[in-house]
Symmetry: C3
Amino acid sequence: MNNLHHLTQLSHLEPAVGAPIHNATEFTLVDSATNVESATFDKSSNDFGQAEDPGWWMKFTTLHGGKQQGSQLAIIDNGAIQFGVSPTRGMGITYFAVKGNEPFPIGWKSPIQEVVNPSFVNLESRGGLGWLDGFGEWLCRCGLEFAGEPGVDIFTTDAGGTSKVNCTLHGKTSNTPASRVTFTVGDTAPHTLRLRGTVCEYSYHGAKLRLETEISTEPGSLWLEVKDVITNVGAKPQEFQLIYHCNYGDPILEQGAKVVGAFKHLQPWTDHAANSLKGWETCEAPNADFVEQVYLAEAVGDGQGRTAILLQNAEGTLGSSISWRTDSLPYVSIWKNTVARADGYVVGLEPGTGYPNNRQVERQLGRVPKLMPGESREFSLRFTVHPSAISVAQVREQIEHLQATCECKIVPTSLKSELQA
Amino acid sequence: MNNLHHLTQLSHLEPAVGAPIHNATEFTLVDSATNVESATFDKSSNDFGQAEDPGWWMKFTTLHGGKQQGSQLAIIDNGAIQFGVSPTRGMGITYFAVKGNEPFPIGWKSPIQEVVNPSFVNLESRGGLGWLDGFGEWLCRCGLEFAGEPGVDIFTTDAGGTSKVNCTLHGKTSNTPASRVTFTVGDTAPHTLRLRGTVCEYSYHGAKLRLETEISTEPGSLWLEVKDVITNVGAKPQEFQLIYHCNYGDPILEQGAKVVGAFKHLQPWTDHAANSLKGWETCEAPNADFVEQVYLAEAVGDGQGRTAILLQNAEGTLGSSISWRTDSLPYVSIWKNTVARADGYVVGLEPGTGYPNNRQVERQLGRVPKLMPGESREFSLRFTVHPSAISVAQVREQIEHLQATCECKIVPTSLKSELQA
Amino acid sequence: MNNLHHLTQLSHLEPAVGAPIHNATEFTLVDSATNVESATFDKSSNDFGQAEDPGWWMKFTTLHGGKQQGSQLAIIDNGAIQFGVSPTRGMGITYFAVKGNEPFPIGWKSPIQEVVNPSFVNLESRGGLGWLDGFGEWLCRCGLEFAGEPGVDIFTTDAGGTSKVNCTLHGKTSNTPASRVTFTVGDTAPHTLRLRGTVCEYSYHGAKLRLETEISTEPGSLWLEVKDVITNVGAKPQEFQLIYHCNYGDPILEQGAKVVGAFKHLQPWTDHAANSLKGWETCEAPNADFVEQVYLAEAVGDGQGRTAILLQNAEGTLGSSISWRTDSLPYVSIWKNTVARADGYVVGLEPGTGYPNNRQVERQLGRVPKLMPGESREFSLRFTVHPSAISVAQVREQIEHLQATCECKIVPTSLKSELQA
């Protein structure tokens, strides 16, 4: 009873399996090409005879109730940290928490509490702001065909014609279910735990962009790593945009919490942000009347092109950092939205290929990269928890050293006012 | 294997459990916070050793086929009446029927026969009329952020800025799946049967309105009760609108059927309705060429602020009434759409916080209530079947007495013509 | 525990069961009226003691992963050909392939590889082009309320008023899940295999069009047949449009492949197509820079009103034809989009009630049929594989004889230029 459906499949468009990982055991959780879905999956270090302390576990399940009906969630607990990844929401990282006697979250507490199934989201609603109805992740990707503010983008195609696309806020990738998801466990120490996923943002007469992500950690470590490869599987050059929308809340975020980064250039997005430019790096307590402020920065890299950004609490005893390469992600947007807790008290650190302007604006400013047919680009970010004053000080000093290599030019007027002028 | 996802949950935003009900046995059918969904649930008076006549039963199931694929439906049969509630469709009451030797429906027969899963509904389609593609309930709520006609609403925010929302017909609540649903059975007579549900209409940078409903009946009774609490769980004042769209069909609706209400004020909505103002309370036989007529009325309350409205058949031997409080629901819209059966022969009785104009219009006319942060408002309606001439006469006389306390001012010109002037 | 939901059902709107088939065994796979869904269904000639060669099998399953999560797929393998039908995608035929030592597909290879669940499709996105995000079938129907290019259609209603509908590309039917699906096997030779499905495109205050399809084949045969009945179940006259979008790829499609049809009239759709009018019937090799060309033709029928169209490979050793009746489907659009394989190398042969203009244009040109209340229209198409030079030559000669009965008027200027003039 051989199914011939594969005869109509384009092999180079199939979700990529990814290079096999040496000395690792692999489990397929989801695969549309072979029609696989693991109903539930529940494994731990015990199942692999891994006696090292601390033990780890991983669980894959389907969620129920409200708008999360049918959403898939994989939870990885490495013994020191725990995080959830939703294949249904484009392999976004729904939450990220630190274990121990008093566990605490790294991510924010969004008013969107459910892991919203994209089948209940209309990205075009509210004038292109429908994305906000499902926005609850600690980390979600904005992109791939477009990211940033909603609005019509009129542009010249490679064929010389004019095309018009209604870009919706932050694009489609975080509302696109992953076509293939696997989990691998390293056979030998450090027994790396890897969740790999493929998200296909394909349209006929449109962009054909594929995201292959590998989200990994090691048992007992205080970090997780995201390694993404974006490929243009179409036969025409294709623009893309990518912003990692990483959202932090209390306890790290509090009155006096600080954003520490190393920048070549920093500018407020709006006039309202420009008015608060002095002390932009310091965060406020929750305030129901706070109006969001965004600062746009170009990151400074070290000799190897690596940079980092840190959010630390007021006393500098707790923090979380992101480190990444500036060649692939030269920019970082800092989103301060310290509204009331009920409305989603948050600071976002958002490394990206550009800023969250509409694609038309970003293109004019030279920040919309293009992939040739078959071309791929790789993005790699490491997210680390700093649970002590020593650990916070270490990463803060590294970033300060980096900043010392380059003066940060602070532009006092907003980018929006420049664009309107 | 403790899941730390709850660390990122805002407890006050969680679906409310509701006060425990004394001397009752509770079953959780759906709960997104704890990821519960009862695959099927099937209980009856026998399971509780309740020997009273008539027996009752309740069944919870998932529907299949067409656009109802995956919709949840709870059916409560109290021995005298039977009704279905769909958690997937915002706890709307899909149908309402009377038992006996010759069972008959109270609700209409919509051309939309399936309990449409909101994942197949695009509220923005047809210029904001997409709601009509899923409209099949006997009772569905219009709201919560907005109700009424589609269209752009431009308004001044509390922060003093200008906001623009594309309101879609009758809002989102009837297409929002319930996050938590429980069923309770009273341990002692009258063994009250209660379905409780929580529907969260939350958006980031937007309204955060929570509906908690309790739909209850008693074994053997000819009524059901809907008690709703709407809460603004956000930290900013928030407008809301709420209309109970209750749709009646034959056998009660027939040529000569009558709407009996007690009003301070009644006005046709459109010029077309104004042309049929005389005899507005009398219904016609199905007519393929009938064009809908809506009459807008302000209800008269008794000393306790209670009012009622009745639809009775031509001979007055069969009817169904709604009673409610005018302080929370001062208005009632009467929707006559006695088109052909194939197109959905119907009369709607619609108690509401206002009329079905676009929110911008309703705001101008002072009919859009606002909830302060954390504030709740309660709504309570009882729906009764009147299966005999005596029962119909009783309720009709009550309503006529109510009307006798206050003259009804009938405005001959339509509200729409006033608005255009 | 009798469910009274049926009391609110309009029997004439229920998915039609279709006339019982004599001497056949029937299986219900999906039925929303009785809430049936066959979890999996797997039958073969062996199960029926049918010893004839070749054996057949049929399998019904639910798909997983990516955007095909929850899509239903029925695969019929008659021993000589195999095809998939997706109830979830409006009974579209997802693929069509020929068996044998070297199986090959008849249909194209779309970049949309998954059988996309309509719950992940927003037809209104991309300015009404959202349909393209799910477009992967070998055969999909465009219609029923509207087909063709997106755009606003303003028209006079039967009541004399003006109505405005935002038509989305190719309508809703291919993104509407079937309400009822059955499979029947003939008890006696030739043991006809039939998949019957009902798709309800119903809206309140809108069109109520029902498609009943019967997709059948015989064990060992090289053809499949599609017999559709479209009914206006509403009480008002209702326009409809129907185009069978049949999409062919390699190996039949290749450089030098030819479209052979018999036409009264042929005209390029766009100026770009007009520039390539000479040799329009010959196909090119995949070319990333190819821009689509559409030719619009009115078909010539024989004495019984039957016509046919053929796509054959360059050498004429392989082909596939469609035959149908010109009284119900007078037109055929030929869609050449011989782009790179990665972008979906394809030629479409599209018999229809009209051409793929927006409904407003088609109405002006007299090509939008109307169904009276309760009226039905039948459409019947046979799709045949021609696996040899002899078989290709036979059908080609038939078509050439048909063309010889009537001169084809070729209009050199494009229809779009005429419409703009």
